[in-house]
Amino acid sequence: MIKAGQIDKGTALLIKGQPFVCIEREFVNPGKGSAFVRLKLKSPATGQVLSETMKSQDNAEDITVEDKDLQYLYNDGENFYFQNAETFDQIDVPMKSFPDYEYFMKEGETYRATFWEDQVLDIIIPSKIVFTVAEAEEAVKGDTVQGATKYVTTETGLRVRVPIFIKQGEKIRVNTETKEYLERVNS
């Protein structure tokens, strides 16, 4: 058991026998009232999101989870396929539980995943990832205004707005939270 006030993003809880992971936690202290937390909890099995408001002092049933390193192999539109870096077991994770994650999954890269028993509760996306530009629009000729931008598509299909000097085949660093271009990476 833990106090609701100790629940953080990423904390795994058991609700009516089903595991949920906290994806948003907002602390609310109503004027002249006790502290509460507003939680958004996601079921990794179904992608369903629950909203709960609990008093900070309320008890919640937390579960013991384990982090493992997984190497990303591929996806088939329904599942992501990983290989456990230690045991070489293949693990599939339903894509609907992790919407938009495909844009951050690079083949062969290792990602840290949170497990409860055999179930993947969470996959951790690093805050910055280096991508290769798979497709780049040609910069419009004569468009030399400073700060001019264009769109490129990464090898994972993520569309990113970049400065016009970025070319196909180059590497760029992207902020994965905002999906914004950070810098060109010289290889």
Binding site: K32, R38, P126
Partner: protein, 332 residues
């Protein structure tokens, strides 16, 4: 790393607010942030520290959660309308989108006014002090004034006329799928419903003045006639609580009762927990506070909603969360 553009916006907003209140005849005051006593507020945890003084003896001191205690002394001494922009401190609040344990508060007291006047005063102040060249969409919508009674009925289906009865309130909480604890206080059950259904449903596209707070939530606002509510409002923009306002209690007997009951509750709830127990200011209940209305506004939050943000951390040059938390892994 440091957002100097945000720092400039903050400076502009603070300057505008100062200029506005001074032009309206308010006196700007500076009162202590470190105090040997506070107003007893069991729901607010204070930071305590120790004054080392080998000549007159050491004393426990507390960082103020708001400058209310000192500003009301000035009002009682005949200051007339006053305002202050100061740093305030609240302990035990988690670090969140709209919380930082140290924050900037505007506190403004208007002599002779009540809480209804303060709605007009606040709307005008926000309009007149807006940032140059930035006009958030909520500023173009007419502010909404809604009573707690109306809001609880509309968004939770709870009848506040019957809610004095805790068994009715508990039944309503259960009907709404909530789990009030056994022996839970009236305030906590009310807040479970309010925070789950009512507060998140308030319109987000304009200033919302939520008035007539329940009498059962104790505070130093006057009682509203014979109704079970107090002359108090809270103001929201974009779903974020921005300000709180009272028609200030002027009845010394009521103030004395509040101090006795709330201090007793504070001591009862904290004894043995290790939390600091700030002493209540013994002279406060004897103050002769004139008719006045006081507002307290979180300026970090006001700046955020002017800039279309729903969090304050990017507006603080040194948010505590950044100073305390390790960074996530950088890159694959």
């Amino acid at each position: 790393m440091y957002d100097f553009n945000a720092a400039r916006k903050r400076s502009e907003l603070l300057m505008n607010i100062r200029t506005h209140f001074i032009s309206k005849g308010y006196l700007e005051v500076s009162t202590p942030t470190l105090s040997p006593y506070l107003i007893p507020e069991p729901t607010i945890k204070a930071f305590g520290t120790r004054f080392i003084n080998e000549f007159e003896g050491c004393r426990d001191l507390y960082l103020i959660p708001s400058p209310e205690i000192f500003m009301k002394k000035l009002l009682a001494a005949g200051s007339g309308s006053i305002f202050q922009i100061s740093q305030c401190f609240r302990n035990a609040e988690q670090l969140g989108d709209v919380h930082n344990p140290e924050f900037t508060m505007l506190e403004y007291y208007t002599a002779g006014a009540d809480e209804k006047d303060s709605i007009g005063i606040t709307i005008e102040m926000i309009e007149k002090t807006a940032l140059k060249g930035i006009r958030a969409p909520w500023m173009d919508e007419k502010p909404l004034v809604i009573t707690m009674h109306e809001a609880m009925m509309k968004y939770a289906g709870v009848d506040m006329d019957r809610a004095e009865d805790i068994s009715y309130l508990r039944k309503e909480a259960v009907r709404l799928g909530l789990h009030p604890g056994d022996g839970e206080s009236w305030d906590d059950t009310f807040n479970r419903i309010f925070l789950t259904y009512t507060e998140p449903s308030l319109p987000k596209d304009r200033e919302v003045y939520l008035t007539q707070y329940p009498d059962r939530i104790r505070c130093l606002a006057k009682k509203d006639g014979d109704r079970p509510c107090r002359k108090r409002w809270e103001m929201y923009i974009s779903g974020i609580e921005i300000a709180n306002c009272y028609d200030e209690e002027t009845d010394r007997e009521e103030t004395r009762k509040y101090f006795e009951e709330e201090e007793a509750r504070l001591v009862r709830e904290r004894q043995g927990t290790g939390d600091v127990i700030p002493p209540a200011d013994p002279s406060f209940p004897s103050l002769d506070i004139p008719q006045s209305s006081g507002g307290a506004m979180g300026l970090d939050r006001l700046l955020a909603v002017h800039l279309g943000l729903n969090c304050i951390a990017p507006l603080l040059l040194f948010p505590l969360s950044d100073m305390l938390r390790p960074e996530k892994p950088e890159t694959v």
